[in-house]
């Protein structure tokens, strides 16, 4: 009987450190980003929207190679040559957890669109990745239009409201 490879324990730090080493330009999206902005969720992977400009996807390929990223069929990611009209989301497994590469997430126009409201958030080990704004994270969830995401969408919308009140409260305190 064929043995299934055990799922590695999710550790986002080596994944993001690999991106940092190769100077990959990307915005964090999806559940991982939602956790960083305050959502009460659990995830086992990192989703990102990279820019497709210049040689960014080649650098991303190099970074992913360093963490043994493979498609489900055990083939290499080959993001630089991927046809994103046919495969808009590239799902990968790495030594440290799952990685999803989504150059144009649903409901957005991609990296440049998300970058406008994104923020660099310090997450430790000297890493400060760009993370999509709560509003944009809610926008993406809404555009996906999946019944299973309804609770997450309501939570994100509430988070946007609380964030607004929180920042307004802080500015009044000053």
């Amino acid at each position: 009987m064929a043995r299934r490879r055990a799922q590695p324990r999710f550790d986002p730090y080596p994944i993001l450190e690999a991106f940092e080493r190769e100077e990959v330009s990307y915005i964090l999206i999806g559940a991982f980003a939602r956790v960083l902005v305050g959502a009460d969720e659990i995830t086992h992977g990192v989703d990102l929207a990279p820019t497709t400009r210049g040689d960014n996807l080649r650098r991303l390929d190099v970074a992913l190679e360093a963490i043994n990223a493979r498609r489900p069929g055990r083939t290499e990611p080959a993001l630089q040559t991927n046809d994103y009209t046919r495969e808009p989301v590239v799902e990968l497994r790495t030594d440290h957890g799952e990685v999803k590469v989504v150059p144009v997430p649903e409901g957005t126009r991609g990296y440049d669109d998300l970058r406008r409201d994104a923020e660099r958030l310090p997450i430790g080990r000297g890493l400060r990745p760009w993370v999509a704004s709560s509003r944009d994270l809610a926008r993406m969830l809404n555009a996906l239009n999946r019944a299973e995401d309804l609770e997450k969408l309501l939570m994100m919308r509430r988070l946007v409201e609380l964030e607004h009140d929180f920042h307004r409260g802080r500015s009044i305190e000053r």
Binding site: T43, I123, L159
Partner: protein
């Protein structure tokens, strides 16, 4: 929600303002949350973007609300460590 609907409809602030007959600055202020648009305006805005408001009744979960508020007080690193730190959910 207004910005989200406008972007999904592919409209600029100017175009949406024209559609509902208000200055572009009003749209900008509503989107930034500087001014409350009121329910009637929200409804007009959403309809102009091809959406509508529907009422969904659900039980408000106050403990979830408090948890969410508490998480805003944490740093992004603390939020991440909080999620990663639970070995039962992150095997």
């Amino acid at each position: 929600m207004i910005r989200e609907a406008r972007l999904l409809a592919g409209l600029s602030q100017e175009r949406l303002a024209e559609r509902i007959g208000v200055p572009r600055q009003s749209i900008a202020r509503w989107e930034r949350g500087e001014v409350e648009p009121g329910f009637d305006n929200v409804r007009r805005l959403l309809r102009s973007c091809g959406f509508d408001v529907s009422l969904v009744r659900y039980q408000a979960d106050e403990s979830a609300e408090a948890r969410l508020g508490g998480r805003l007080e944490l740093t992004p690193q603390e939020r991440l460590v909080g999620m990663l730190g639970d070995p039962d959910t992150n095997a």
